[in-house]
């Protein structure tokens, strides 16, 4: 009644796209998820 599930760690989609030089294009054409809504984030106005 104890179940041990091994987990694998692999490069993320972001890393794969970056290593293939496709990330910038991908992010322009896709808003992959809700987090994408903040891709235009920058520091608050008036900050150095």
């Amino acid at each position: 009644a104890l179940v041990r599930v091994p987990l694998k760690r692999v490069p993320s989609i972001r890393s794969q796209l970056r290593s293939e030089g496709l990330l910038q294009e991908f992010l322009k054409e896709n808003r992959p998820d809700m987090f994408g809504r903040r891709y235009s984030q920058c520091f608050p106005p008036g900050t150095p």
Binding site: R4, S12, Q16, L27, Y39
Partner: protein, 337 residues
């Protein structure tokens, strides 16, 4: 921004997901890789009837080949920023590491939007949140396991490692208990404050000894399906400034790798106990050709719940701290991994 309604709305960010494990559905078994996600409560895998580009690159469930499959007839949908994942529901036997839960409700996706899933190394998602988070699908997997009395205790635990050693898994999910070999020191138990996500109270967030963030307490969720640490935009942008992270033209925040040693420690205070991350923990390193790039592990996400703005403690946090999810006493335990 999201305002969460009667329960919660799951936000998927599979762009950064890294940890997954294997499950088997049906008789004879069909294997799938899934993200074990404490930030959602549904199980879904691609259907053989899915014609989306993303499905073509993944394993797909063939219901007609399973003798234990039961058709449901209901549709389900999961919203993404890029579109709407659509599917049909069914029931079948689910096997995880040799243990079988019978008659598990799950979704078969017949349409997966966008191209984000095309490169994903996992096929689907197995949600481990509370039933309230399963807006459309039925009994979450862990609830079904508990109902069938398959486990010693109503508890599961996550160990996520950033270290890569040949022959050893990079992480472990233990269903039914706690693996005492994978953490040090006492477990700090934190009561769940809202049963949807694994949501807890965060006392404060301290940067270099000063506590300008969440100083009167705030809410946080422990989310194995999220890679980074997320929080309200204003706070996160201030943290990016404090750690010297600069925005790129695609909205990532990059840090000069040579400066890592001088960056401040960031401490999360939970249940009166301090959980400190150094720059080695909260900076994500990536090789691009022969160059090392360093990215901030913090991400701005505005999620508003009835208890206030939510912080999300994802893999960046959970690789340092062993996490225990106790449905019996509705609490989260944390210990040094």
């Amino acid at each position: 921004s999201l305002r969460l309604g009667r329960s919660s709305e799951k936000i998927y960010n599979f762009m950064d997901a890294q940890y997954f494990g294997d499950i088997t559905l049906g008789t004879p078994g069909q294997n799938f890789s899934v993200v074990f996600d404490t930030g959602s409560s549904d199980l879904w895998v691609p259907s053989t009837y899915c014609v989306s580009q993303a499905c073509a690159t993944h394993k797909r469930f063939r219901a007609f080949e399973s003798t234990s499959f039961r058709h449901d007839g209901r549709m389900f949908g999961i919203h993404y920023g890029s579109g709407h994942l659509l599917g049909v529901m069914g029931r079948d036997n689910l096997t995880v590491a040799g243990m079988t839960a019978k008659n598990q409700e799950f979704g078969e996706s017949v349409y997966e939007p966008g191209s984000a899933f095309v490169m994903a190394r996992f096929d689907g998602v197995l949600g481990m949140g509370y039933p309230a988070l399963a807006e459309i699908l039925g009994n979450p997997v862990f609830d079904n396991m508990l109902a069938q009395k398959l486990l010693d205790q109503p508890v599961f635990s996550f160990y996520l490692s950033r270290k890569t050693a040949s022959g050893t898994p990079e992480g472990e999910l233990l269903l039914g208990g706690i693996d005492e070999a994978l953490y040090n020191g006492p477990i700090n138990w934190l009561p769940v404050t809202a049963k949807g996500y694994w949501q807890i109270k965060m006392d404060s967030l301290v940067v270099q000894g000063v506590s300008p963030f969440c100083s009167h307490g705030c809410q946080a969720i422990i989310d194995t399906g999220t890679s980074l640490i997320a929080g309200p935009t204003e706070d996160i942008l201030n943290i990016q400034q404090l750690i010297g992270a600069s925005p790129t033209n695609i909205g990532e925040f990059i840090i000069d790798c040579a400066r890592l040693i001088s960056l401040p420690r960031i401490t999360f205070v939970l249940g009166g106990k301090e959980y400190t991350l150094t720059s080695e923990h909260y900076v994500r390193k990536e090789m691009l050709g022969d160059r090392m790039l360093c990215f901030s592990g913090f991400q701005a996400v505005d999620m508003v719940s009835s208890e206030g703005p939510l912080w999300i403690l994802g893999d960046v946090f959970l690789t340092q701290f062993y996490s225990i999810f106790d449905r019996g006493q509705d609490r989260v335990g944390l210990a040094t991994a």
